[in-house]
Symmetry: C2
Subunit: 139 residues, 2 copies
């Protein structure tokens, strides 16, 4: 599914197709570098010099809500974004903050991640997201 198809499929939710959104999503789908909002901003600015960071965040949040992209909370202050919303696994460098992904079953996770990526793995963080029993009753 490419950027145009995704944005068209969002039209019936009252979400408009704009060239800025197209550029943002196309960039996210074309790279596997897990860019920060700032990096996406710089990239889209080359095509739309007047674009604002607010628009980047607006679009990223919209796409995230509709599960077309994934936000990776980073530990340091900024988040990184991944155009591939399936649950795959990420390896982050604690020194340069680069994020690399890999796909596999989950036996001996740290060792496997090290093997597949060449990283020295020190630890990992696994967080499931969902709705807790109390909030399920409220809504």
């Amino acid at each position: 599914m490419d950027a145009i198809e995704i944005l068209k499929s969002l039209k019936d939710k009252g979400i408009r197709f704009t060239p800025q959104r197209q550029a943002i999503l196309e960039y996210l789908l074309s790279t596997d570098t897990h860019p920060t909002a700032e990096e996406i901003y710089k990239q889209v600015k080359q095509k739309f010099p007047g674009v604002s960071l607010g628009t980047i965040y607006n679009t990223l949040n919209m796409l995230k809500e509709h599960n077309y992209i994934l936000e990776l909370p980073c530990g340091d202050m900024s988040s990184r974004f991944d155009g591939n919303p399936v649950n795959h696994y990420h390896v982050m460098c604690t020194q340069c903050s680069k994020v690399v992904d890999f796909h596999n079953g989950l036996i001996d996770m740290d060792e496997l991640a090290a093997e597949k990526t060449g990283f020295e793995i020190h630890t990992h963080s696994l967080i499931f997201y969902g709705v807790c029993p109390e909030c399920q009753n409220i809504n």
Copy 2:
């Protein structure tokens, strides 16, 4: 290992035992609510009304560096902290931000997390932390 033992064992690294640090660590070890820095601040303030947020962060970062606590990057802006530094699994409510933990092997992860916690699991984020091949060569 309780708060006093941990802080005493850090003395030979030039890290001083202070009552504020004791209160912060004691609170973290006594709860399984994965509090934010702000929540820890409010709690410690009851015992030390003059304590500052800076001291909370100072202490949390120190304990994190020495692997006595775990920081959980949250997706929203703030982090949560866990006094149990072993790699166990966390479930976060996307509505109230509560974090619950569970322990288990990693087969059919989302389903298992749902079973164990009663959450409706929508997705999860797994991030390994380590040093990438390029950074290994630099240092």
